[in-house]
Amino acid sequence: MIKNFIVLLFLFGLGMIFSALLLGYTPDSELNLTGRYYAEHTAQDLGAANIVTAIIVTYRGLDTLGEVTVLFLTAAIVGMLLSTGAGKGKSLQRKLSQSGELLTTGSHLLVPLILLLGAYVFINGHLTPGGGFQGGAIIASAILLILLTDPLYRFSHQLISIVESISGLIFLALGVLGIFFAGGFLDNRILPVGELGSLFSAGAIPIIYSLVGLKVGAEFSSMLVNFSETEDS
């Protein structure tokens, strides 16, 4: 109890900091320097309609690279963590209630659709809301669906990791091409910028975002698969 009180006390202090931040906050009425630059230059420089996407993939591409690396790391570490447990190696002996016929069939029908949706989301990332991360999550949900209906389904770890690696490597390679053929690392203008609003525009952004989508999808899947393969302890 004393501990809770102390925590409360300190959180009160933190609350004071927060309230000072809140009270000191005056909403902008105009875009600030950076925001204005993006609003004014994104379209003509990069040719991406979704400015957020442009920022993510190009202007702050290094962050995104880091971000996919975070997932890559997480997937790898989760794999390491869960593959060294006591339960690993034994064959799965869990008795699971078999999913209903309807569900199985339904899922088999749904999975391709979901995958398609995911692909759509990341391919159109430079035009509409959504992109690699959202698309990747959607792809992973297809995998999730399969796992839910058939917990004993084995995915090829090798396949997942190859998809993950290849897409990551291409992402990097495209970034490096930017050094030689455009303004710098991760510059999307290695391909023509194209016409604002069309699918094949914004230089390498759609490709990169698709790669990110694939990679993220693979990484999410890998995590899910790893978790689902753990044993009861």
Binding site: F18, A43, I55, D63, V78, L81
Partner: protein, 118 residues
């Protein structure tokens, strides 16, 4: 609007932290942290909001030439996207750790994992 969002965000952070710092159960701590992370995300997005403007996506309604006057600040959104993904990464890791810790001790009480000390 912004104020409400931001306030909500801050309250979520504080609540999340309270939960994380007072619950002994590791899973609950992780849950609490994810609440706090959501709060952070809300605050981040709220900071970029400008009253009466639209999402930073150019289309017929928002032509490139007027963008500067029509859209809200896209930067915080980009940051939040990254933050969410990173948050997921850490949460996942914590979950995996929680599982292994449970395997080790048969318990999820954080106070039982204090052999390393002093």
């Amino acid at each position: 609007m912004v104020t409400i969002a931001m306030l909500t965000g801050f309250i979520l952070i504080l609540m999340g932290l309270y939960g994380a710092l007072t619950n002994h159960n590791i899973l609950r701590m992780i849950v609490s942290f994810s609440v706090a992370n959501t709060g952070v995300n809300i605050v981040l997005v709220a900071v970029g909001y400008i009253h009466g403007r639209t999402a930073p996506i150019l289309n017929e309604a928002v032509p490139a030439a007027e963008a500067a006057a029509r859209i809200i600040d896209p930067v915080p959104q980009a940051l939040v996207l990254t933050a969410i993904v990173i948050g997921l990464g850490i949460t996942t890791l914590m979950l995996a750790y929680a599982y292994k810790l449970y395997e080790m001790k048969g318990s999820l009480d954080i106070s039982k994992f204090s052999e390393l000390k002093w």
